[in-house]
Structure formats: structure tokens, C-alpha cells
């Protein structure tokens, strides 16, 4: 029996992912990394921009994966954290002339606090109740950003325009390409941090809570602390993704961060495989490119085509890209034996 079939047995919200199966093998990782580094040299600026967005959404899906795949908490409110990160960067850059690279850690810290505080009342909720609470946060966020007394900072309904940074040190590189490599470095750093986090003591605590909260607390894990910590870390990473998104798109406005974004990120996580970190990029590719493909197939029915494609994916691989990876691994193993 494959690992993917085994986890079907339990009817848990989030199936247990063994610690080792959360990442790619070293060889595969290096190949993917090399491809990500070389690819922009050969393509047009618009495609580089799309690849940047792919990395950014991948980062946001990764953040949700840490929360849901890691600690078993479900969130439909990620768009709110993404918005806070984006606005932090936009306000700091446009009102205070802070360097764009410096705004990222600030956005991360702000969002960590925000997520940690939100995690406090959310502690008592689980499953659908938590989904509703986070959903409320996501629906409220665009309205809050439009509030009158914040308008001086946020630009109200109009939003803010963000200046795209030039490549530093006199490098002869287009702005898009520089931003792509900048994003790649940030995403890589956070990816490595996340992998290590999930392998650390805290990560094991997250997973113990995910698999059985009562047993985890019986083992002496401070459930409340780790659950809110997971919320904080996830919010911080989502916030950094939001910052990068604001710089890449050069614009923030309340209506870019509606519940649709939160739902997209959620779909990305499911398609990539819940709890499998490399799947985040696959999921991000799905939520960025499939709507475009659907639009190409039929303009009037693009929503329906998207829905049908999504159904196809979840029928064929209910565990997402992770299932494909596991199958590939088994196939490779068999070939090696022969």
C-alpha cells in the first residue's frame, strides 16, 4: 500500500504527513532550484513577472500549509494577512521612504503580531467554526481598509501606487528580473526556515497537536501557545508574501484582497497537497494559470471550466501533487530494482 492510500483510512480534517515526506529529496530540490535560477534568462519580461507572482503565491500557500498542514488549523482568512503585509510595505515605502527590502521584515513582524493576537480568540474554535471566524476576518478586511480615518494612509478606495525598485549595484538587469531574483532569494530563505521549523521541537509540537490535541497536551505541550504561534508564523509569512506582491504589482487597493484571494490560496494548498511544502508552488501554478486557461477555452463559461478542471484534479489525485510525487517516487524505485 502506498503512503497516500494509508492516510485515506482516517477521516481527520488534515491527514498526517510524516515529517520526512514534507520536502523533496536533495537531488530533486537542486534540479528545481537550478531551473528557477536559469529560466528567467530565456523569457520575456511579462513571463518573468508571472514567475515572480508564482513564487509569491507559492509563499502564501506555503504559509497556509504551515498552519493547516502543520498544526491542523483551518483558515479562510489568509487574504487579510496578505493585505496587512501589502499595505505595511506600501505605506512605509510611499509615506516614509523606507527601502523596499527593509519593509519585508517589518511587515513580517506586524503580521506576526496580528496573527498571534487573532489566534488568541481562535484558540477555542476548531474546524468549521474556525473557518467561519477566519472568513469573517477576510470579509472585514477590505471594508476596514476603506475606513475614513485611515484614508490618509491607505488612500481609501483608490489605494496606493508603489514604485518598482531598480536593480542595485549598477547591475544591468531589468526591474522585473531583479525583482524575480530578489523574490527567489526571500522565498528560498523562508522555505528553508519553514522546513527547519517543522523539523524542530516546535514543528513536532504543531504536528502532535494536529494529530491529537488531547494527547499532545497530555505529553506536556502547551497547546494554546503552539496553536497561536502557528497562527503568528503563518500570518508573518503571508504578510511577507503580501509585501512582495505589493512591490511586484506596484499597486495596493482594498478590493485586491477579498475573500476570493483567501479561497484561491486554500485551493492552491489542496491542489499542491496539504502538508507537503514543495506542493505550494504547484498549487500556486494551478491558481495562477488554470483560470487563464479556462478563460482561453471559453470566455463565457470560464468559471465552469475552472470548476470542472478542479473536479478533475481532486478526482484523479485527492491528495494533490503530493500523491503524484509519491507515485513518481515508487515508480523510480521500481525502475531502479529492475
Amino acid at each position: 500500500m502506498s503512503a497516500a492510500e494509508e492516510v485515506v483510512e482516517g477521516h481527520e480534517a488534515v491527514e498526517a504527513v510524516p515529517k520526512r515526506a514534507m520536502t523533496l529529496g536533495t537531488g530533486t530540490s537542486l534540479v528545481v532550484l537550478a531551473a528557477l535560477i536559469i529560466a528567467p534568462v530565456f523569457v520575456k519580461n511579462f513571463i518573468i513577472f508571472q514567475m515572480t507572482m508564482l513564487l509569491i503565491y507559492g509563499l502564501a500557500v506555503l504559509a497556509l500549509n504551515i498552519l493547516t498542514g502543520g498544526s491542523g488549523q483551518f483558515s479562510l482568512g489568509q487574504s487579510a494577512f496578505y493585505a496587512v503585509g501589502a499595505y505595511t510595505t506600501a505605506v512605509l515605502m510611499e509615506h516614509f521612504n523606507v527601502n523596499y527590502a527593509l519593509t519585508l521584515p517589518i511587515a513580517g513582524v506586524v503580521c506576526f503580531g496580528f496573527g498571534f493576537l487573532f489566534g488568541q480568540p481562535a484558540l477555542r474554535l476548531s474546524g468549521v467554526y474556525l473557518a467561519l471566524a477566519t472568513f469573517a476576518l477576510a470579509t472585514a478586511m477590505p471594508q476596514l481598509l476603506k475606513l475614513n480615518f485611515l484614508e490618509h494612509w491607505t488612500g481609501g478606495v483608490q489605494g496606493l501606487v508603489v514604485t518598482k525598485p531598480d536593480a542595485p549595484f549598477g547591475l544591468s538587469m531589468s526591474q522585473d528580473m531583479w525583482l524575480y531574483y530578489f523574490t527567489l532569494v526571500v522565498v528560498l530563505a523562508i522555505y528553508i526556515f519553514s522546513v527547519n521549523l517543522l523539523r524542530s521541537r516546535s514543528g513536532r509540537a504543531f504536528m502532535a497537536i494536529r494529530d491529537n490535541e488531547i494527547a499532545a497536551s497530555a505529553m506536556g505541550i502547551n497547546v494554546a501557545l503552539y496553536k497561536t504561534l502557528a497562527f503568528g508564523v503563518s500570518a508573518a509569512i503571508t504578510g511577507i508574501a503580501g509585501s512582495l506582491g505589493a512591490i511586484a504589482v506596484q499597486f495596493v487597493a482594498p478590493d485586491s484582497y477579498t475573500i476570493t484571494l483567501a479561497i484561491s490560496l486554500f485551493l492552491g494548498m489542496v491542489v499542491g497537497g496539504v502538508g507537503w511544502l514543495p506542493g505550494s508552488i504547484v498549487g500556486a501554478a494551478f491558481i495562477i494559470f488554470v483560470p487563464n486557461i479556462a478563460e482561453g477555452i471559453s470566455k463565457g463559461l470560464s468559471g465552469a471550466v475552472f470548476g470542472v478542471l478542479l473536479f478533475l484534479v481532486i478526482y484523479l489525485v485527492p491528495h494533490g501533487a503530493r500523491q503524484v510525487a509519491i507515485l513518481g517516487q515508487q515508480l523510480a524505485g521500481k525502475l531502479r530494482k529492475n
Binding site: V7, V8, H11, E12, A13, V14, E15, T68, F74, P121, R124, L125, S126, V128, Y129, A131, L132, A133, F135, A136, T139, A140, Q143, L144, K146, N212, I214, A215, A218, I263, F266, L267, M269, V270, V271, V274, G300, L301, S302, G303, A304, V305, F306, G307, V308, L310, F311, I314, Y315, P318, H319, G320
Partner: protein, 292 residues
């Protein structure tokens, strides 16, 4: 004071719709343990069917009945074709399935009937109810239909064999199967009933919010909120939750300064979350004690 009474009564009337929607949500939740995110779109599609029938010259009540039957069958078909294969998939995969269904129905309705706003008739008329200025006959009719529906469901679940079988299949599927209940079909039946109840909600609210493919978006959110507030395991709680949410929404919009229409929803949701933090299983929900 008149403003207050007015707002409360209007709240009860919209609350009746939320109650219907919440009931549909609870029906499905009981049957399959999932929140159906496509419930509102399914109701919208049913409402369009009834509208189309009326355009073709069918009378209101005949269209109403045909739509109920159509919705019931369609609900069963959706379960059999789309969601039965996913029964063993993880919960979050199922949620993705609901989102996919939402996209499919919304987009198809847009293509079939386009996105222009359409008038929808009310069978009750829109004159003031019994000569009072407080509430219109349509609002009174909405409350009446909801109450009838509730009584009907109560009798169905309490006093019929099939109602009992459905309750058994929902609460302890293994034991239900042992005594010979076809739990798989009970789930499909739950889908059918939920879809039919949702279509009633859709047809009742269509004269108020007008008919268009996105008409149920807001209603569904309030329906969820109501169901969660009342407790997802209690149909009665769902109805009470619906009325409470309706009243609170209207009062908050009127009396809390700076709320207006834009912030009504976040305020209503904030209230529900505060209730949940105090009572995590909802007002009338069963608190399930987990064993390690």
C-alpha cells in the same frame, strides 16, 4: 420606538430567509459532516428554473412545486455523481469540490440567463400586512412559509420511519448500517432535501434581492453564520440563529454609527464569533466530547 419595531420586524422577515438557508446548511452538515459552500448557488439556480417556468406561462405555485421536485432530484444527482466518489477523500478536498461546484453553477447560470437583474414575482403581494405599516404581506408570507417548513421537517424527522432512518444514519452510521439502513442513500436523500429547502429560501428572497446569478452570495454567508450561531447539530438552533442574525444585522445597521450597509456583515460575523468564543458549539449545539 416605531423605527425600532420596524427594524426588528424587517429583521425577522430577512431572518426567516437566513433560517431557511441555515436549515439547508444544517441538513447537509448532518448528512455528510461538511459545510456546502455551493448551497447558495444551488438555490439561485433553482430560483432561475422557477423564473424560467413562469416566463413560459406556468402559474406561480405550479412553478414552485416543479422547482421543488427538480431541486430534490438535482440534489440527489449531485451527490451521486459528484460527491459520492469523494466520500473517502480528505475533508479539505471535499471543500475544494464544493468551491468547484460553486464556480460551475455560478458561471452556467450567468451564461444561461446573463447577469442582468430580473424582477421576481411574490405570491403574497407587497401591500402592507393587515393594514399595519410595520411589515409587508410578502415579509409576513416569508415568515409563514418558514414556520410551515419547520413544522413539516419536525414531523418528518420525529414521526416518520424514513426521518428516523435519516437521523440514525447521520448520528451513528455504523450501527445504522447494521440494522439495515442504506446509509449511502440516506446521505443522497439529505442532499435532495437540503437542495429543496434551499430552493424555497431562494424563491422567497428573490423578490427582495432581485434575481441574478450572484444574489445568494450574501444570503449564504448569513445562513452559515446563523447555522453556526445556533449550533450545526441542531435544526431548531439554525432557525433561531437565522432570526437572531436577521434582527441583529438590521439593528446594527441602524443604531451603531458608522456601520451602514458596508460593515453590517463584518459586525454580524464579529458578534457570532464572540458568541462562539463563549459557547464553542453554538447556542443549541451538542458539545461532542472526544475520547483519546
Amino acid at each position: 420606538m416605531e423605527l425600532f419595531t420596524n427594524q426588528v420586524l424587517a429583521g425577522i422577515a430577512t431572518g426567516a430567509i437566513y433560517a431557511c438557508m441555515a436549515l439547508a446548511v444544517v441538513m447537509i452538515y448532518q448528512a455528510i459532516d461538511h459545510l456546502n459552500f455551493a448551497q447558495g448557488e444551488m438555490a439561485m439556480f433553482s430560483t432561475f428554473i422557477s423564473w424560467q417556468l413562469m416566463q413560459w406561462g406556468v402559474s406561480y405555485w405550479a412553478a414552485f412545486l416543479i422547482t421543488l421536485v427538480f431541486s430534490f432530484v438535482a440534489g440527489i444527482a449531485i451527490e451521486r455523481i459528484l460527491f459520492k466518489p469523494l466520500a473517502k477523500a480528505p475533508v479539505l478536498t471535499n471543500v475544494a469540490g464544493f468551491i468547484a461546484l460553486y464556480a460551475i453553477i455560478n458561471s452556467s447560470a450567468g451564461l444561461l440567463w446573463d447577469f442582468t437583474i430580473k424582477q421576481y414575482p411574490t405570491p403574497f403581494g407587497s401591500s402592507p400586512f393587515l393594514g399595519s405599516q410595520l411589515i409587508s404581506t410578502h415579509q409576513a408570507g416569508m415568515i409563514g412559509v418558514t414556520v410551515l417548513l419547520l413544522l413539516g421537517l419536525y414531523f418528518f424527522f420525529q414521526y416518520t420511519r424514513i426521518g428516523l432512518a435519516m437521523r440514525a444514519a447521520a448520528s451513528v452510521p455504523e450501527s445504522a448500517r447494521l440494522v439495515g439502513i442504506n446509509t449511502s442513500w440516506m446521505i443522497a436523500l439529505g442532499w435532495g432535501m437540503a437542495t429543496a429547502i434551499g430552493s424555497i429560501a431562494g424563491m422567497l428572497i428573490a423578490p427582495v434581492v432581485f434575481l441574478e446569478p450572484n444574489m445568494m452570495g450574501g444570503v449564504l454567508i448569513y445562513g452559515f453564520a446563523a447555522a453556526v450561531l445556533g449550533g450545526l447539530t441542531s435544526p431548531f438552533g439554525a432557525v433561531v440563529g437565522g432570526f437572531l442574525v436577521g434582527i441583529f444585522e438590521n439593528l446594527a445597521g441602524t443604531y451603531i454609527p458608522g456601520v451602514g450597509n458596508e460593515l453590517k456583515l463584518p459586525i454580524a460575523l464579529a458578534l457570532i464569533i464572540s458568541v462562539l468564543v463563549v459557547k464553542p458549539a453554538g447556542l443549541f449545539g451538542r458539545h461532542i466530547v472526544k475520547r483519546v
